[in-house]
Symmetry: C2
Subunit: 130 residues, 2 copies
């Protein structure tokens, strides 16, 4: 991987760029998270999505605890260079609540309404001894 | 619209939340932009996407210059409450470059590569006297 490729990306003042993860074949938007320069490089090098956890201030290899990994199909950059779109192949569920997508709440005149079922119990997702 | 609905949204330190715009029927991810509280409220009230322009520090009613408006189909919130997904019906093109989506550059071993055509000349988009 030629590291100059990353010079196309306009990281913010914290050195981060938002990344939208979209399932490559169904086009479902799964989640949004952040990457720093090292995480983008690792993702391109390994073909596995690696984000940067702002709360834990460290690399976050998607699925490292839950086993719900994301394989990279294609990484795309927007016209301003400040947002990435990752086409991925998601194993299982993307959301820590056990739903396929993190975007399971609709906001509207009827209030906030859940529109997607829990597919895997969060207890199962995070009760792993390996 | 009950304004308490917006209390579900975790705006960042600048009072903003990132918004992913996705075409409702094709599921194409069109763009990512930001909203403040007033922009979310206006979007829900009017059914037209209103963002907050960070560079111009003012509301940005999508299509106000270009005519390429976005109608809201559904607004969704993610599990952490800090990202919105807007399902929209996009008139024409979402990108100021005249492409349907802003995510027209693929990053990979072959470098940065354009993967989507210009559908409308930017001169046409922004040469409007009305």
């Amino acid at each position: 991987m030629d590291e100059t490729l990353l010079d196309n990306i306009a990281f913010n003042a914290d050195g981060l760029v938002p990344v939208i993860a979209q399932q490559h074949d169904t086009s479902e938007v799964l989640m949004m998270a952040w990457m720093n320069r090292d995480a983008v490089m690792e993702t391109l090098d390994t073909g596995r999505l690696c984000y940067y956890s702002r709360s834990r201030a460290r690399p976050w290899r998607k699925g490292e605890s839950s086993g719900q990994v994301q394989s990279l199909i294609e990484l795309r950059l927007d016209c301003d260079g400040d947002t990435l779109l990752a086409l991925v192949d998601q194993t299982g569920v993307a959301c820590h609540t056990g739903r396929r997508s993190c975007f399971f709440t609709a906001l509207g005149a009827a209030g906030a309404r859940e529109i997607a079922p829990v597919l895997v119990s969060p207890d199962t997702l995070y009760d792993r001894s390996d």
